[in-house]
């Protein structure tokens, strides 16, 4: 804990305040000022320049009725649910690595887990975009080669998906409104985030050997061990990752912007609230409206954070 100081001493140590000045100035200028400015400008019709016009709550009433914006939340909802499931491989991998007997192997696998982090995120994204290419993309070649395509085509015919999958016809993953969300979900398969795996591993470290030994004596199966020993122990970490993931998904739109463009791809099927805000500001030039949209998004995320803090406590 910091040492308590007397008034005299504090007066003597006034120079210490200078230590805080840079950080304070930076935070005020680049975090607080923009936020306050966003609130201020959300009451204006403003196209980014000097000219602005006060329009009271018009931006907000318009935002409330904006079907694209609220439709984006539905998309986000689907992505959040999908992302929950996408955490499973990372958990499995962490458990598998943890159960290895060899220290050495554990270490080297960790290195391999971290390896994808050193490829710039954009590069991975563009390589995936290339995978989705209907003509040269690996996803379609894989579906063809593995015999999945006829299965999908059959499903399409019987379930009436409208001819998205047809044998002998390449599937346009990023060109078909109905496939946009599946593509956004498939993206990054098998979805092993390095940070996630390492955090789970850190959680698993607290499991003592004796627990396993006891379990082995009871003849517990591998899956039961996972369910009763490992999962409860990393629940804290899982909760933390869920919270981070939710907030990240809600705020994020870079992925959608790069894969699908500023209008969320064909039919706007991949439009998310953040992208719509970006679109209104930097494509339509409606900066004031974008501020209002941003505030709505802000409130939603803030609300979610509070709920998280209340119900999904992350205990240290």
């Amino acid at each position: 804990m910091p040492q308590p100081v007397s008034k005299r001493k504090a007066l003597h140590e006034w120079k210490l305040y200078l230590f805080l000045v840079p950080a304070l100035v930076l935070v005020c200028t680049f975090s607080y000022f923009p936020a306050i400015s966003a609130i201020y400008h959300s009451f204006f019709r403003w196209s980014g320049g000097e000219a602005k016009e006060f329009i009271a709550l018009e931006n907000f009433t318009r935002a409330l009725e904006d079907p694209v914006f609220w439709g984006g939340f539905l998309t986000i909802g689907i992505l959040v649910v999908a992302n929950l499931f996408k955490m499973i491989p990372a958990i499995c991998l962490a458990v598998l690595i943890h159960r290895l007997r060899s220290d050495r192997w554990q270490y080297w696998y960790r290195v391999l887990v971290v390896l994808p982090m050193i490829v710039p995120g954009l590069v991975t994204l563009f390589i995936w975009k290339f995978f989705f290419n209907p003509n040269l993309g690996l996803l379609n070649s894989f579906l063809d080669a593995s015999g999945m395509m006829p299965v999908l085509a059959f499903a399409d015919r019987t379930l009436g998906w409208g001819g998205i999958f047809q044998e002998g016809i390449p599937t346009a993953w990023l060109g078909e409104p109905a496939l946009i969300i599946p593509a956004l979900i498939i993206w990054g398969f098998p979805w092993i985030g390095a940070v996630g795996v390492l955090i789970f591993l850190a959680g698993l470290q607290s499991i003592g050997t004796e627990v396993y030994e006891a379990a082995d004596l009871d003849g517990v199966t591998a899956f039961q061990k996972f369910l009763h020993i490992e999962l409860p122990l990393i629940m804290t970490q899982v909760r933390l990752m869920v919270v981070l993931m939710m907030i990240g998904t809600l705020q994020g739109y870079g992925l959608q912007f790069l894969l699908l463009g500023e209008s969320g791809g064909p039919g706007g099927a991949g439009m998310v609230p953040g992208l719509w805000m970006f679109n209104r500001a930097f494509f339509a030039g409606e900066f004031g409206y974008a501020c209002a949209l941003g505030l709505f998004l802000f409130v939603v995320i803030l609300g979610l954070t509070f709920i998280n803090n209340k119900y999904i406590r992350v205990d240290k």
Partner: protein, 530 residues
């Protein structure tokens, strides 16, 4: 300890990289300009034409200009099409806009008015860089083949920028394959010859067990071809259905209201012939071509996997640079009259539909040296430099009397042809959407005209209605916007303001036409709703 040393090496390497990079930036940003002298003026020119040859052409023009203007540095900023609108607005709003920007993508009339300099006062004066050529005393407007229609803003009634190029659509041929398949180099001139070549290609592919398609298609390229072919059948029908077919290649409202009245339908023989023609052609493109993108089709063609591709003159240099075989271009062949009973409505060759020029470059208000930017713009739009542009880019010229480069001769606009009719996607975005959704049923081997028609009929009428609704709203909006402008111009004209009466007269004509549409289109739309 070992670990510590290793990480120290890592950080040292990073520090070294940092120092080198910093030095490099410092050199470029501060040192070089300081050495070269401060009076250097930089003029930046931004465009989104990333096709092959265009960047070289801009560089060639810039170099030539810099030779005679040593104090000016011309810098080219090529921006990808996909992010151009975003880029444009950030530059305009941020006040960092380059001196000259290509007009089009992401542009609105408001942005033009607020951020660009109009050239209206200059269009009746000659271009100084045309001195000594046969365009010496010709007014600027008349030195461009489109009379600068492409620079003229119908809403603001001002001229913005100068065009550099013109465009047409053609069929490209892989000459090596053509020779190997047909034994000659003659290009098909009619649809019948085209399909013969296609069949020969398929035989050849089967015989030699190669993966070769006759035509490379994509979502982008196939419609260029199919629209042309289907409009070869609907010319006479359009003439019957719409009195404005000749000037306005039937207006949507007239065609839609004729459709609503039952004057034509998806069963009309002409329409059926057009569908048959598209289906006939579809079998010669690679399977599922409607799922592919523009770059997929060109990739296919330049890799020698297709004999032909339909695309615009804008792709010509890209294709030539990428292909390791000689390329020939010709007009898109349409059926000759009375050549085939299956499509009896053929009139003969069709004229190139677009004659507006493109690549319009305009000066921004953010330019610190608008007079130099204007000088460079004049330079680019002059006859000798437009010749250079054409020669290097392989694109078509915009200036009267400039000869297309040798390799782009085949792209010269073809005007001695008929006006085509309409396509099934005539009504707009929604018409296009349902048409494209169904088109696999028309062009895939297991499909048929009937199959396509049944599928299309499910949503065709409601898609037309939706398009009409949207264009109704648009027409009303434009009409209302004109009201404010008319009031202002009327006042300005009364006070004798320069050019205001002329502008008022122009706006009266366009707003009268628009007001007409603003009642007619909703009337047609309502007829669909009942």
């Amino acid at each position: 300890m070992r670990e510590r040393i290793i990480s120290s090496i890592g950080f040292a390497l990073l520090a070294l990289c940092f120092v080198v990079a910093l030095a490099r930036i410092g050199l470029k940003q501060w040192w070089l300009p300081a050495v070269e002298g401060k009076e250097q003026v930089t003029i930046r020119v931004a465009h989104w034409q990333l096709e092959g040859g265009v960047r070289d052409a801009f560089n060639a023009m810039a170099e030539k200009y810099m030779e005679s203007h040593p104090h000016v540095r011309i810098q080219q900023l090529p921006v990808p099409e996909r992010i151009f609108p975003n880029w444009l607005i950030t530059q305009l709003v941020g006040g960092t806009a380059p001196d000259i920007i290509q007009i089009g993508l992401g542009m609105t009339e408001e942005r033009k008015a607020r951020y660009f300099l109009p050239m209206s006062d200059l269009v009746d004066l000659p271009n100084p860089y045309n001195a000594g050529t046969d365009l010496d005393d010709v007014p600027l407007r008349d030195t461009f083949f489109d009379g600068m229609e492409s620079s003229f803003s119908q809403e603001l009634l001002e001229y913005y920028g100068l065009p550099l190029s013109g465009f047409t659509v053609r069929m490209y041929y892989n000459l090596n394959l053509l020779r190997e398949i047909t034994g000659g180099e003659s290009l098909p001139t009619t649809y019948e010859e085209l399909t013969r070549l296609c069949r020969q290609t398929m035989d050849y592919a089967k015989r030699t067990r190669q993966k070769i398609s006759p035509i490379a298609g994509s979502k982008y390229n196939a419609p260029l071809l199919m629209d042309r072919l289907s409009s070869s059948q609907t010319g006479d029908l359009a003439k019957r259905l719409a009195y404005d077919f000749l000037p306005n290649r039937p207006s949507t409202a007239l065609l839609a209201s004729a459709f609503r009245r039952g004057d034509w339908s998806l069963e009309t023989p002409e329409v059926e012939a057009a569908m048959g023609l598209m289906r006939d052609l579809g079998q010669y493109m690679q399977p599922g071509f409607m799922q592919l993108m523009r770059d997929d089709a060109s990739f296919y063609f330049v890799q020698g996997r297709a004999v032909m591709i339909a695309s615009g003159s804008w792709d010509s240099t890209s294709i030539r640079q990428q292909a390791d075989f000689p390329v020939a271009v010709g007009p898109i062949p349409v059926p000759a009259p009375q050549s085939d009973p299956r499509w009896p409505y053929s009139q003969g060759p069709l004229a190139d539909s677009t004659v507006e020029a493109g690549v319009v470059m305009a000066i921004t208000r953010a330019s610190k040296h608008p007079e130099i930017a204007l000088d460079f713009l004049y330079f680019m739009g002059s006859k000798p430099v437009n010749q250079l542009w054409t020669d290097v880019s392989g694109w078509l010229p915009s200036v009267v009397g400039v000869k297309p480069a040798e390799q782009s001769k085949g792209f010269a606009p073809f005007l001695d042809g008929f006006i085509g009719g309409f396509n099934l996607s005539f009504s707009g975005a929604d018409g296009m959407r349902v048409y494209r959704n169904s088109i696999n049923r028309l062009v895939s081997p297991q499909g048929s005209v009937d199959d396509f028609r049944t599928d299309l009929a499910k949503s065709y009428s409601s898609a037309i209605a939706e398009d009409l609704r949207r264009s109704s709203l648009g027409a009303v909006q434009i009409a209302q916007r004109n009201d404010t402008l008319l009031a202002a111009l009327s006042m300005l004209a009364a006070s004798g303001e320069d050019r205001a009466s002329e502008k008022l007269d122009l706006l009266l004509q366009s707003s009268a036409g628009n007001d007409y549409g603003a009642r007619r289109t909703p009337a047609v739309w309502k007829s669909f709703e009942n």
